[in-house]
């Protein structure tokens, strides 16, 4: 009950007409950058950051937070309509979401994505409000050694539950890990695999890679057989999800919320990882895992919920400790620092309006986004009436502009084009590019945390088993490997018996 009074005060702040207006502006702008491929929450935040210099800190943080979680709503749109991810956290949505659109069910996919986003986003604010301090303490226990264990665990989970043939998945993962090594070595500052070019010193641009592998490759595949791509004429009847759709999505939304909230604590890449995990879990728990990839509504609902559920938990380290765990919250931190507000243990007592105003605004913002996004479904679905030959190149052009505008670097467009070709070849060979992208995201951090841990211990590998968190994560890794080995051994036995 003791949280109720300050929360009510927070609502009083968040409902002030100016704060409310900035909240709506933030949500609206977030949706726009989320919808536009190539532009993600980060680009959206940095574009509007200069505007906040003139605002008071509460209005500034409320608007910027709105952009951050608003972008998670918009990302699904182009993923579903044309299979070009609106931002990195909507890669997994593209797989089944677009298949649904092909079957004329873009409406239900978009509606379920919006509802899942709303539920995930709202519940994660509840989590943020109730459990922030203890969770922040727990987070500090995860040092470089434990972080390595966590990354290894995430990679193994995703390999084991990935649907494709094990060998192909493994090849994709290894290719991803190799791509992750490009760039300056973060421990010795030596440039690796850059061929003497300064362009690759910071590594391969992940968003460009993802847009190429998923979006450009899709367009190339469609070029082969342009007659196959029919113009989808959605009727009003098909816009609304059926009762069965909601029944199928509900458990996925519940699981997505939990997964997103937990994975929100992973530094750097939480919103992307959470969608991969959610997709994998839905497939593993499904009675018909082989139908994933053909337009399952759970495969849209889960990941889209998960990426929104990360927003609450990834705010926790920022607000409680003053530590930005992901790039988007780093910008929120600068916005507060500009106004002389330093987040940390004293934030709640020194600036209650900022803290509780922000929490209250996140409840309001999620509601605003739901109200904003549901009517847009009708508009977006009607975009499909545009013949593919016009729609796809337009989206492609927008993504090229988006990707260029972030770094003003033409190499990023080149990366997108080349990975589009690679993605085309991979998909012709029935290779799934998703594990590759995941390995790129995870590989970088996995290597750095391992080498950081070993630098701290001066080369002593036992550091990986020191501390409770390291033991938990590595214990889970061992358990998982044993279970998998046992399962495959028993599986082989069963198959042998059948053949005999």
């Amino acid at each position: 009950m003791e949280t109720l009074q300050p929360l009510l005060n927070g609502f009083a702040v968040a409902l002030r007409s100016d704060v409310l207006m900035y909240c709506v502006i933030g949500c609206l702008w977030g949706t726009i950058v989320g919808v536009l491929p190539g532009l993600g929450p980060l680009a959206g935040l940095t574009l509007l950051l200069p505007l906040t210099y003139q605002l008071e800190p509460t209005a500034a943080i409320v608007m910027l937070a709105g952009i951050f979680y608003g972008a998670m709503y918009g990302g699904s749109t182009t993923s579903i309509l044309v299979r070009i991810p609106g931002e990195a956290a909507s890669i997994m949505t593209a797989i089944d979401g677009h298949e649904m659109a092909r079957k004329g069910r873009a409406g239900p996919a978009l509606v379920v994505a919006a509802i899942g986003s709303f539920i995930g986003g709202t519940l994660s604010v509840v989590g943020l409000m109730l459990f922030a301090p203890p969770l922040a303490k727990l987070m500090l226990q995860v040092g470089p050694a434990a972080e390595f264990g966590l990354m290894l665990l995430a990679l193994l989970v995703l390999c084991f539950v990935s649907g494709g043939p094990a060998l192909k998945t493994l090849m994709m993962v290894l290719a991803g890990l190799l791509i992750a090594t490009v760039g300056v070595d973060l421990i010795t500052a030596h440039p690796r695999f850059t061929f003497g070019s300064l362009q690759f010193v910071n590594g391969i641009n992940f968003v460009a890679l993802a847009l190429g592998l998923f979006g450009v490759s899709e367009i190339l595949l469609n070029l082969e057989d342009i007659a196959r791509v029919k113009v989808i004429k959605p009727a009003l009847r098909t816009l609304v999800p059926r009762m069965q759709d909601l029944k199928d999505s509900a458990p996925a939304i519940g699981r997505g919320t939990v997964i997103g909230f937990i994975f929100g604590f992973i530094p750097g890449i939480s919103h992307v990882i959470s969608t991969f995990v959610s997709y994998a879990v839905e497939r593993k728990l499904s009675k018909a895992p082989e139908t994933f990839g053909t337009g399952r509504i759970e495969a849209v609902a889960g990941p889209e919920t998960a990426n929104n559920a990360t927003t609450g938990s990834s705010m926790i380290p920022l607000l409680v400790l003053g530590i930005p765990a992901i790039p988007a919250t780093a910008i929120l931190l600068s916005a507060l620092q500009i106004h002389g507000v330093q987040p940390g243990p004293q934030l709640v007592s020194e600036h209650p309006n900022v803290f509780w105003g922000l929490i209250a605004s996140m409840y309001i913002g999620n509601l605003v986004l739901l109200v904003l996004n549901l009517p847009l479904v009708g508009l977006f679905v009607n975009l499909l009436r545009i013949p593919y030959a016009y729609l796809a190149p337009t989206v492609l052009l927008v993504s090229m502009i988006g990707i260029y505008s972030v770094n003003s670097n033409a190499t990023d467009i080149l990366i997108m084009a080349v990975s589009g070709l690679v993605g085309y070849v991979l998909r012709k060979g029935k290779f799934d590019p998703a594990p590759l992208l995941l390995a790129v995201v995870l590989g970088d951090r996995m290597e750095v945390s391992l080498r950081r841990a070993l630098t701290i211990s001066d080369g002593d590998w036992w550091i990986l088993l020191q501390g409770a968190m390291s033991k938990i994560f590595l214990g889970a890794v061992v358990l998982l490997v044993c279970l998998q080995l046992a399962a495959s051994y028993l599986g082989f036995r069963r198959k042998d018996m059948k053949e005999n």
Binding site: L47, P144, L186, V201
Partner: protein, 322 residues
């Protein structure tokens, strides 16, 4: 047909007049592009964007910020060095791409390839320890490091970055050794420090302040010669007997080498007075930094002396390119 001819004639005339107009044109007569070689939203970007806004009325022109990250800042820096020296493309950056990264990566420019306009901000790196650390002040801290060479670890914002090099420069001079652990920015360093995974926090002042206030952390030294008013108990390098080894994180404005002297003077005057304005001073103070606004010559001296000092430090710790 006649219209076409007239158009062609006009174009031809314009072509003839253009070089003459260029020579006599009042500078600046169109927007100036300020290239910032880092992603938008970081410390350098925010400080310089605010400064750009304050410079606009002084120059009477828009200053358009273009972010060009990559290559540790060398990509954007190269764009400025290679730009036309007409004063419409200038660069705003922190020390690393000028005095540090070129020792490490094959940067396509030398330290003498650009003009220094003005040094606009500076902020020291602070070294802090947990309250249980067996050293109460800066002198005791250095003694503790001297007694235990290589025992303690300090977090910093990346290998070959300002914080590591500022610390190594002092440690080398004083003959002590601590092990650097590179993190991606002050946030990660702070997390590892609070969780007890590294012994010493090395970074900017604002992130650590809440923990200095609640007495769980204690700042023992800064890397500027003088003490800093936000952490008055931390020793300055003058207190430790090495004031000449000061390295701070600074930001400045540079321009292509062959920029005419009169234009350089216009830019210097505008940026220096914007940096010295009350508004900018107050803004930087809130971020725990100091507003400057130096002359071109002062800035040039700083770049040259720091470039040389960094070359030595980086060679000593094995960071220079092979």
């Amino acid at each position: 047909m006649t219209r076409l001819k007239r158009g062609a004639a006009a174009a031809l005339a314009a072509l003839c007049i253009l070089p003459a107009a260029f020579a006599q044109e009042k500078y600046p007569s169109r927007p100036i592009e300020l290239v910032i070689p880092t992603a938008a939203g970081g410390g350098t970007d925010i400080s310089l964007r605010v400064l750009a806004e304050l410079v606009e009325p002084l120059l009477g022109q828009k200053v358009v910020v273009v972010n060009k990250p990559g290559g540790g800042g060398t990509l954007g820096m190269a764009q400025v060095v290679q730009a036309r020296p007409d004063g419409y493309t200038i660069g705003g950056l922190w020390n690393a791409p000028l005095t540090m990264t070129p020792h490490m990566l094959p940067a396509p420019y030398k330290v003498s390839d650009y003009s220094a306009v003005s040094l606009v901000t500076s902020s020291p790196t602070v070294m802090c320890v947990k309250s249980a650390f067996p050293a109460a002040d800066g002198k005791a801290f250095i003694e503790e490091l001297r007694k235990n060479p290589g025992k303690y670890t300090y977090g910093n914002d990346g290998v070959g970055g300002t914080i590591q090099l500022a610390a190594e420069r002092v440690f080398t001079k004083l003959g002590v050794k601590a092990r650097p652990i590179p993190f991606a920015g002050a946030g990660e360093t702070l997390k590892a420090f609070l969780g007890g995974h590294v012994d010493i926090y090395g970074g900017s002042i604002p992130p650590i302040m809440p923990y200095v206030k609640d007495k769980s952390a204690r700042c023992v030294m800064v890397t500027s010669a003088e003490r800093n008013s936000s952490v008055p108990d931390a020793a300055g390098l003058a207190d430790l007997g090495a004031p000449e080894e000061a390295t701070v994180l600074w930001r400045g404005i540079i321009a292509p080498l062959k920029l005419p002297a009169d234009r350089l003077a216009i830019l210097q005057k505008a940026f220096a007075s914007a940096a010295q304005s009350d508004k900018f001073r107050e803004f930087m103070l809130k971020r725990g930094e100091e507003a400057k606004g130096s002359s071109s010559a002062e800035f040039r001296n700083l770049i040259d002396s720091e470039y040389e000092a960094m070359g030595k430090v980086m060679a000593a710790i094995g960071l220079t390119k092979k």
